[in-house]
């Protein structure tokens, strides 16, 4: 497969605590996702929701990882970009 959006959970020292913690994270992610999709007027069919939430939880973890990466773009004043042109559209440029 050419794609990978599964977020693999790390093994925990205390399995029971890990189950509780994972359930809490899942519940928070589900509530958050329901709010967001409700705002967009989207009802996720119940039988599809498990796969959707698994993907959403993975994305949450990845977004958190990206927020933690130290890059020299942090603190750019006033949202001003150091790029010229639209290289967001041209990452290979």
């Amino acid at each position: 497969m050419a794609t990978d959006d599964a977020g693999a959970a790390a093994p925990a020292a205390d399995p029971a605590a890990a189950v509780d913690s994972a359930a809490a994270v899942r519940s928070a992610a589900e509530a958050e996702f329901d709010t967001l999709t409700g705002r967009l007027g989207i009802d996720v069919p119940a039988d599809l929701k498990g796969g959707v939430l698994a993907g959403y939880q993975g994305l949450r973890d990845m977004a958190a990882l990206l927020r933690s990466v130290e890059t020299d773009h942090r603190g750019r004043p006033g949202g001003r970009d150091d790029r010229t042109g639209n290289d967001e559209e041209r990452p290979g440029a």
Binding site: M1, T3, A6, F33, T37, M62, G92
Partner: protein, 486 residues
């Protein structure tokens, strides 16, 4: 002394490379009609079991082949793909032909104009055979709930061909056509090339226009050839590349003569390698690690220097690509997700819908990290090296049984390390380098500087000659697979 057989006599027509077939077409020893009929015959015989094609345009293919022959007889040579059959992943428009995206949502959509890729191939005298199976909208998965069955891996009925350009991989490996054009957003050309034992090129971002092709992720989508050999890929890229006013993403970088770049060898090239991403990962098959080491030895033997580099963590590249991909794919499909959720395949819905939850700040953060990663890759690798040779897939093709009812499948079935170069936009080529102990193809990935596909092709050609096993085709596909096994 008896006459030596010509290349035409000694080789089955589907085993002629694009340059070899082109030479015979130009010398008059072969006609495009013969070449096209051979391809159509193989499709008719083998595709009922492979499901690589969604649509075969037999009549127009033969008309275009006749026109190609007439042109050559009249002295008009339209370039390296003149008279050569090819097929398009069914996300590209071709005038008068349905573009289904393998989706119930697009059934019956007939293209009114050509995509730029199709227009260039048509103008280049190439012969379109039809449309190839894809994962739905180039994203879903190997699904059985779509209007068309999933393509099969010609090397094994038990294994998937990967995706999303699944029909492209299957068609090329089975010798139905030498050249297909696919799309690659996070690895969708390189993945099926890897798992089907073919060559898959993701050119530099913007090299090939996406005008008239289904968008999946506007800043990650790349379009390029999936072929049997490196020379085939160079010929196809020569025709489809170039700036396009209809697609503002296309770069104004000058086009190289990629077919002329072949044969120049690798002496003096500086090759970087990055085993830190895969060598100690238990998911990586030992044959792949040793295959890459063998390839580096080949390059060293041909006069290249090889140096190990340390790249930024793979997980950061992956997270960056996944967040951008999710947000952009959701933006493309949000109306249908809201109005017609049941019209998507199950996997497609479950893969695209999570993007609804990406905050604008997280998307923009991912784009900042993306620029940083590109700079890191340039400074770590391309300021001092000409190419990076690294892993493509970590295991051979996944089994059908690895895929559960709901997305995602286990990590075993998600083994590609292709997304970093989708994130950075550098050209990356998936090259076959032999077979694992399970009999399935393995390969590696060659990454070049932005707009330097020529050097990628040079490295790939040398490795292909020593490791590529281009003489070896899937066994047993030449028998009549009536009925398939879906």
């Amino acid at each position: 002394m008896p006459d030596m057989p010509s290349a035409r006599q000694a080789t089955a027509l589907h085993e002629l490379s694009v340059p070899e077939a082109g030479a015979l077409l130009r010398s008059g020893e072969l006609t495009s009609v013969e070449l096209t009929r051979h391809a159509l015959d193989r499709i008719a015989r083998l595709d009922p079991a492979l499901h690589a094609f969604i649509l075969v345009t037999e009549r127009t293919a033969l008309e275009r082949a006749e026109a190609a022959d007439r042109d050559l007889r009249a002295g008009t040579d339209r370039g390296p793909m003149h008279g050569i059959p090819y097929a398009l992943k069914d996300i590209f428009d071709a005038e008068g032909v349905p573009t289904t995206n393998a989706s119930w949502l697009r059934t019956g959509d007939v293209a009114r104009t050509d995509s730029t890729v199709e227009r260039r191939l048509r103008a280049g005298g190439a012969v379109g055979l039809g449309k190839l199976t894809t994962f739905e909208f180039a994203v879903g998965g190997p699904s059985f709930d779509l209007p068309v069955p999933p393509a099969r891996n010609p090397w094994s009925e038990e294994h998937v061909p990967s995706g999303s350009s699944s029909g492209s991989g299957a068609a090329v490996a089975a010798g139905l056509t030498r050249v297909t054009i696919g799309s690659d957003t996070s690895g969708s050309t390189r993945g099926p090339a890897f798992h089907c034992g073919a060559v898959g090129l993701k050119p530099t971002y913007g090299r090939v226009s996406g005008h008239g092709a289904q968008t999946l992720s506007r800043t990650l989508d790349h379009f390029g050839p999936l072929t049997w050999t490196v020379a085939d890929a160079a010929a196809a890229l020569q025709v489809i590349a170039g700036a396009d006013p209809a697609d503002p993403r296309t770069a104004g970088a000058p086009l190289d003569d990629w077919t002329a770049a072949l044969g120049r060898g690798v002496a003096g090239l500086r090759v970087a390698t990055s085993p830190g991403w895969y060598a100690d990962d238990p998911l990586t098959m030992p044959e792949i690690t040793t295959g890459i080491e063998r390839a580096l030895g080949v390059l060293g033997g041909h006069g290249a220097s090889v140096e190990e580099v340390t790249l930024p963590p793979y997980d950061v590249f992956n997270a960056c690509g996944r967040v951008v991909f999710a947000a952009e794919a959701f933006a493309v499909h949000q109306d249908d997700l809201r109005r017609h959720p049941r019209s998507f395949g199950r996997y497609t819905y479950q893969r695209v819908m999570p993007g609804a939850g990406i905050a604008a700040a997280d998307y923009l953060r991912a784009m900042d990290v993306r620029r940083w990663l590109k700079r890191q890759l340039d400074e770590t690798v391309f300021d001092r090296h000409d190419v990076l040779v690294t892993v493509c897939g970590q295991t051979t093709a996944a089994r059908w049984s690895d895929f559960p009812e709901n997305w995602p499948p286990p990590k075993l079935a998600n083994d590609m390390q292709t997304i970093p170069f989708s994130v950075t936009g550098h050209p990356a080529l998936s090259l076959p380098i032999g077979f694992a102990a399970d009999g399935l193809p393995i390969g590696l990935q060659i990454v070049g500087r932005a707009h330097d596909e020529a050097t990628v092709f040079r490295v790939a050609e040398v490795l292909e000659a020593e490791l590529g096993e281009r003489h070896r085709r899937p066994q047993g596909i030449d028998i009549d697979h009536t009925g398939g096994n879906s």
